[in-house]
Structures are given as C-alpha cells and as structure tokens.
Symmetry: D2
Subunit: 295 residues, 4 copies
C-alpha cells in the first residue's frame, strides 16, 4: 500500500514561477513586551513564500505551523517587538520551504496606549500597528514597522475664505477675526507611517505614534469632558493643516528623529481625511527613501 | 431508474420551524423609472421565506429565480419604485413556496441625485436607498422604504464652551463672539430613515433625501469651489446640531410631510456622527409609530 | 463670569423621546478570567441610554467614562464573563444618567480557544463572542451571550443528485456509491447563537462553541497536515447538512444542554454558508424562546 | 478689499514633494457602450496628481470637477471602455494642475454579464472591473484593465489523500475510485487579473472574464436547479486545482490570447480561496511582464 502522493511536490504543468504563495487572514493572539508589562495583541497574519516554476504547489500548512510555533513561544517568552517576530518567521519559513528563495510575513494588530487629554484625563487610545519582513535566501532580510493613528485635521483653506468673508461683511470685527481662529471644516483623519528598520537603528512604535499625533491638527481622545473638548477643538483650529501638510511635517520629524538612519532607509507616509463637507476623502502620500528626503 | 430524491421536501429530523430561510447578497442591476428618465440601480438583495417544522429544506433556487424574473422584467418595464418590486417579489415567493406562510425581501442600492451647491454648482450626489417588504399568506403585505444620506453636523456644545472661554479671555471681543458663530468640531454624519409605506400614502425617495438633508447641520457636496466651501461651513456652524437634534427634527418633518399617514405607520430614524474629536461615533435613534409621535 | 451653559440639559425644541442615544465603536482591551488563566479580549463596545422627550442631549462622555472605569477595573480584577461586565455597566449607566429609564451595552470581541484536529494536533482557533445587556430603571436587567463560529458545511442535496447520476451512468458502481459518500459542494459557514442568560442559569461560552461546532458538518482548523485534512473532509461528507439542519440541530442541543432554563428564555440562531457554487450566501434563522421550542 | 488668499498655492514650509495627492472614494454612475447596448456602472473613483516640493497644497476640487465632466459626458456619449475614460481623465488632470508632472486615476465598478449554466439556464452574473491610468507630463500614459471573478476551486491534494485512504480501507472499490472523482474540499475563490493595455493591443473585459472562469475548477452561477448544481460540482471535481494552478493556467491563457502584446506588457494575477476547511484563505500571485513569462 503506498501513501497518497505529495501532490504539491509534483511537477507543475504550466512552468511559471509564482511571486507569492501562502495563507492570508490567520488570526492569533501575540504577547509582546512593553515598558509597562506584557500586552496581548490580537493579530491578523499573512505568510508567503515564492514558488519555483517547476513545482506544482507550496506546502501551505507549513506557513500556519511556523505561525503557531512562533506565536506560542511568545506566550512563554514575550517578544520585544512585532518586527522581531516577522523577521524570525521569515527565516524559519526559508528553512521549512527548501524550494523557496523568498519569504514574507505581514502582521497587523490593534494596539492600545494610555494618553492624556489636555486636562490630563487619561484613557487607553486605540491604534493599528503593522510589522512586515521580507527575506531572500541568498541575501538580506528587510523589516518594516508601521502605525496608523486616527486624529483630527482642520482645513486652513476654508478658514481663510471664511475669515475673509466675515472681514468684508463686518469690517468692525477685523481685529477680532485676526485674534481668534475662524471656524473651518474639521474631520477624522487616518495617518499611516511605514518605515524600514535599518540595522543601525531601532524604532519604538510609541515614538511613531507621538510623531504622527504631533503632525496632525490635534490628537483625539476617547474621553473628553466639556473643558477638554474645547481645548482639543481650539488646538486643532490653531493648527489647521491640509493632508499635504500632515505628510510633510511627519517626514520632517522622521528625518529629525532618525537622523542616524542610512540613505537607503525606505519610508512611506499617507494621510487620509474623511472630509466633513464632502462624501469622499482627501488623500496625500509620499513613498520614498531617507536619501531622497535629504536631497 | 428513479430520479434523485428531493432532499429539501423530506421530513425534518428536528421538528422546529424556521423564522427565515433564504439567500443573501444576490447582486443584480434593477431599472427604475425616475421623473427624469430611467436609472439603473446596482442592488444587493436578500430573499427569505419561513419553513414549517416538518420540512427539511427550503427550495432556495426559487428565491433566486423569482429575483431574476422580476429584475429582468424591470429591464423591459422599469418599475416605478423599489418597494413596488419588493412587494411583488413577496407575493410571487408565497406562490412558489407553497409551504411558506411568510416571505421577506430586502433590497439595498446606491442611488444618485443631482443637487445644487450654495453657489448653484450641480453635481450627482450619492445616497443609499433600501426597500423591504414582508408578506403573510393569510394577511397583509407591509412595505418600507429607506434612505441613508451623508452630511455634516457641527457640535453645539463645543461651540458654546469655546465661545465662553474666548469671552472670558478676551472680554473686548464679546460682541464679535455673539455676531459670528464660534468654531466647533464638525464631522461626517450618516443619517437613515426607514418608513412604512401605508396604503393611504405614497412616498417619493427624493423627498426623504430632502427631509434628511434639511435636518442636518448642512448637506455635503462632491464639488465645492472656494466660495461654496465657505458657505457650506458657515451654514453648518449657523445650524449646530447634536445627533439627537437631527433625529428629532427629522421626526417632526416626517410627521408634517406625511400628516395623512395613519397612527400605525412604523418609522425609525437613526443618525451617526463620525466624531472628529473622538475615535468612536455618536449615535441617536428612535424606533416608533406615527401614533406614538403624535401623542 | 458664568460658565458655559450645559447645552445637553437644555429643553429640547422638538419634544420626542429617543429610543437609544450613545457612543458606538469604542475599542478597549478587557481582561477576562478563563479556566486556564487570564485572557485579554480586544473589544468593540456600543453604549446607549434612552433620552426623555424634554431633554436636548445625552451626556455621551459619561458612557465612555463608565466604559473606561469598568474596563480599567478588569485589568486589576479580571471579570469572569463579558455578560457580567455588560450588566454592571448598564447599572452604572442608569446611576450616571439620572434622566434615563433604559440602558444598553453591546460588546463584541475576538476570542481564541485551543482545539484539537482529528489527528490531535492542537491550534488556537478564532471565534467572535458577544455580550449584551439591557436594563430598565424600574425593572429587570436582561443579559445575552453570543458566539459566532466558522466551520464547514457540505450540501446533502447535491450529494444525492450526483450519487444518483453516477449510479445511472455506472450501474456497476452502485454498491461502491452506497458505501462511500459522494462528492458535493462544501463551503465556509458562519453560525451564530445569541442566548439570554437567565437568573437560574449560567452559560459558559466554550460550551456554546462546542454546541455550534458539533452542529456543523465539521469544525475547521488552522493547521491540518495531509492526514488531518482528509479526515475533516470525510467527516464533513459523512455529515452533510443544509443551513436549515445546522440551525435545527443547534436548537435541539441548546434545549437539551440548558433544559433547566425557563420558557421565557430568549434565543436566536442563524447560520450562513458562503456557497462555493454561487456568488451569494445561503441563510437560515430562528428567533424564538425556549417555551416555543418546547411546544 | 482683497480676496481670500489661495492657500494651496502658497509656498510649502516643509519642502518635500508628494507622490500622490487627491481624492478617494468618489462615487459616480458611468455609462459604457457594450456590444448589446449601454450599461450604467456604479463606479468608485480615486483621482491623484503629484505635488512639487515648493507648493503647499493641491487643488483637489479640480480632481472632482474633471471626474464630474468626464462622467457627465459619458451620459451623452457612452465611453467604449473604462480605461479610455481613465486615460482621458489623466490627460485633463495634467492640464488643470499645471504644477503636476504625474496623474493617476483608478476606477472600480460592479459589472454584470449574462452567463449560461451547464443546463443553459441564463442569469446575470456579477463581477468587479477596474481600470487604472498613470500619465507623465513629459512621457507616456499607461493604462491597465482588471477583472475580479468569483468561482469555485476544488483541492487536488485532499482528493488524492482521501482516494488513497478509501482504496486502502476498501480494496474492492479501487476500480470505482479510479473512475469517479473522490470528494474533496471546495470553496469560493476570488481571482483577479490586472493587465496593461498596450498600444498595439485592445482588451475586451468579457474576454478576461472568460479567461478567469476557464482557469478555475468551475465558474459559479446564481441560479442552479438540481441538475445544474450536480454538473457544476462534478465539473469542479473533475478539474481540481490549487490556487497556484489557477494563477499559472491563467498566465498561460493570457500569453496565448494576447500573443501579439510586447514583452514590456505588465500583468499581475492573484487567486484567493476562502478555504472551507480553514478559517484563513489560501493565496497565490504572480506580478510580472509578458517578456518574463516568455523566457
């Protein structure tokens, strides 16, 4: 009696190599060390390797096994960062898939951080974090860490138009209109940074959150009593920003904070505002390297 | 040679009747008559009947057949309203499923309507419409029509807090702060009406859109040049509203517009704001009848 | 200098009471006791109270405060169940919103449980759990606990049609076709139970998961090596089920497992299959009470 | 009285150019010519240009204006393809944004096509189509057309394992197990092609749908009576495929069908199966050029 054939290892009929083959949407809890203790992240994980042109199928259950092993280990020995985990997974994937020359792991998870409102009221705020590694058998492993934060941005263009209209209509209020920011449309904004973690550098996700939130018109908070609410709105209006401004200010802060990172360091920043005066969104993005930004 | 058994018609092993059995997420284009011509709606359709306790399965392909027939007919003879279509489908479903005592059809579709900005710039604005019918074999058929519109609402509470703060800080600007609305947080708001279409009444979906948009701080527009943008923002700030206000103003307008509708007419209104100062939403809802509202 | 007015407490212009007013989509980590230790659930929380007809606005920040307090407490003293948490939140909400006569809290969270494959390979499987409480100031508090599990179901109807076709075409294989289940379409199925937690009863979410998974054609697993995969597929084909069967078998098991629950106990069960042979889904649902099921 | 300043045209404080700035999620109906008449597609549109380092903001309302004009024109003169529309929009965008060197338009829409079941029963089947153009001021405009189709794929690996298990257990059925495909897991599969439309070539979206559906284990249909259902399931089991096979077969067919396309023609194919035996998906992808495929 012979065992069933290993169909995956058969010769492929159509000899095309495949860029990425794997599993998507695997959900697992991952335990991560944080300065204030251990936290459990509910992660969604995609795991891929490439496939040479002559092999019919990739052994996908190995991808899920590697995920399970590394994640289980995190329960006993919490990892210090998600990108450490994705890099380790990439290496093990190349060992297990002896035919692969490339591996990729992409993890997204909800993340919570205690933040203070203007009136020093604390609450746990929600962010999305992401870690991604790409490994080549005969070369380097690149890792990226990303954060998406939700905040508020207020439009400088409508503010100026309205200030101008009121000044024309009520010339006697001109002085007042210079002193106090004028109304404008403001809205929920979602801004994302994704940055390569170079060998010479180390990136703390909480720093990225600080950098994003300080690039918005204002950060937002889950609990705001009346006084707090007023201060957040005033801060946003004293600091009106296009999505273009958000991306550029963020790039400047990244260059400053990580000035020891090499020119080849890849970075992308995007900011999307759910415009309150439109049914569509406003969007700005830069995909680049530290070298290009330094030019 | 005997044919395969009709498994669905077999006796059920567990004798429980089922409330709803059917198909969900059927996508079809439906052609509807509008005052200005015919429009094609891309619809997503759910179709159910109930199932008596002794029958193993419902013949679900009949649900899709009825959908196909009625929708195909709409291409040759455009229907005058979606709720006419759902009511007709409910009746045919009870004919085809001889064992059913109840049928239900729920259709959602994107809808476009030409609207004018304050500066009379026109653009096609996007809405979601919904029609639902419920029919009983030995009784009446109830139909509902619904609309979801996206607009802007501006918070009256933060406006008042900030006005008060500035008045305290700059007493010399008190007059100005009374004349011009103060800044506040404003955001994208999604408001939905779902109302029973009574025998004595007829409801035009465009009227519901008017009623929703006039209950918000302001409607929104896809194209706004600088002047327009200023006017929308000013309109919203002259008209600050909680989600609670949106729901109540909407209820008052519905009672007024459809004052000939009977007391048993069911209606539900909900309004959700994607708060620009929070990561969560603010929500208000009323589920009721015209009779209760008239008390 | 007078403080800003409490806009929410003003008289409403349109005197309609509101069914539910509150916040939706608040994200928080909640620590829950489990037999094997503490787990952190990433929860999404909706929190509502009603609003009398004469009050302009609900104080929504109180909803988020209550959420924060109760969730923070769970970090120090893990709660033993989510429905205990929602019930406690409902009570505090009625204290804080002195004008409200009703409060409601609805929590959804990802949940992980270790399960064994047929070959006794363990992996953490993902489920969605839900807890909901509704409290009346002058009456009772009702709590519900729910679980959604993903599994596989295989269609008995296509299996019978195909067996019949093959028997006709290859009469010599008739015996074999009786011995081994014939191919059929099988697909990912999502089944949800939501059940009232009566005073006389206690419900363990892991039991609900067992009950759902045993009502499907087969449970699914994240890691399946070749032998395991074969066994899951064979189990599903030896156990073909309509979504109607899934709902009914589940109801029978609930009645049996919780036979000490009173007749008024509310329960709803729904099962949806992402049909592999269609682009739409198949759906069955029963919304009822234990009393009706016992008739 | 001077007009409000054009804030967008001001000098940027942070001098970084931006890769893409624009609007996302604009919804419009577009009228397209098809061999059998005109159809209205409900489209979701993203429109971007780049932004030089010294300019503060992009004039985003121009993006929406261009969208409105081109879409309105389609009502009077239906366009013959979506990629014609995206290419035209890209050109107009470069005219209107005199400071931009790049423009990009990406349109997604539901699409319906009449298909026949094995028993020649016709129904309108739903697909997603996509068109994308990228234009450089001093260079070429590249356009892409894409289609996503949902079908069924059946796993060859589990089929072989199960055949082997049954052969071992019931040696007397060996012959029968060779004659009739054995059961296996099968599931909903979503496969996407995105291909560059070269100058020398023309691509009809209906052909791409044919190519995708013929690369799956079987296409799926909204209406299947008992006989039809059996044939679709049998076809899928006679044609078991990994997602890897789907991608490769599709690439071979594209190379064959469009053999007159140049080596630089870009193409990407991905296939994702919603595994019925797992809670996660299986995925395969190739991103390449015709030249690489011909090697």
């Amino acid at each position: 009696m012979h065992p069933p054939e290993d169909i995956q290892s058969q010769l492929a009929e159509q000899r095309f190599k495949l860029t990425r083959v794997g599993v998507t949407g695997v959900k697992k809890p991952i335990v991560v060390k944080r300065p204030w203790g251990e936290v459990t992240l509910n992660a969604t994980i995609d795991v891929y390797v490439d496939l040479p042109s002559d092999q019919k199928g990739s052994h996908m259950s190995r991808n899920v096994e590697v995920t399970g092993e590394v994640v289980d280990k995190s329960v006993r020995e919490p990892v210090s960062s998600l990108e450490e985990l994705t890099a380790e997974m990439c290496e093990i994937l190349l060992e297990r898939h002896e035919y692969a020359s490339y591996s990729e792991v992409d993890i997204k998870a909800d993340y919570f951080l205690e933040r203070e409102s203007p009136q020093e009221r604390t609450s746990l705020e929600n962010y999305e974090i992401r870690a991604k590694s790409e490994a080549y058998r005969d070369g380097e492993t690149k890792s990226f860490i990303g954060v998406t934060a939700v905040g508020i941005n207020a439009c400088p263009c409508a503010m100026e138009s309205i200030r101008s209209k009121y000044t024309e209509k009520f010339p006697e209020l001109a002085e007042s209109l210079e002193k106090i920011p004028t109304m404008t449309h403001n809205q929920r904004n979602k801004t994302t940074v994704m940055i390569e973690v170079p060998e010479e550098g180390d990136i703390e996700v909480n720093d990225l959150i600080d950098i994003i939130e300080s690039s918005l018109s204002a950060p937002t908070h889950e609990i705001l009593k009346r006084e707090d609410e007023a201060e957040v709105v005033m801060q946003a209006h004293e600091n009106p920003k296009f999505v273009e401004d958000v991306v550029r200010d963020l790039l400047a802060k990244l260059l400053d904070r990580y000035d020891h990172f090499g020119d080849s360091t890849q970075v992308s920043v995007k900011s999307e505002s759910e415009e309150s005066i439109h049914k569509h969104n406003a969007f700005a993005e830069r995909v680049t390297t530290f070298g290009e930004l330094r030019e």
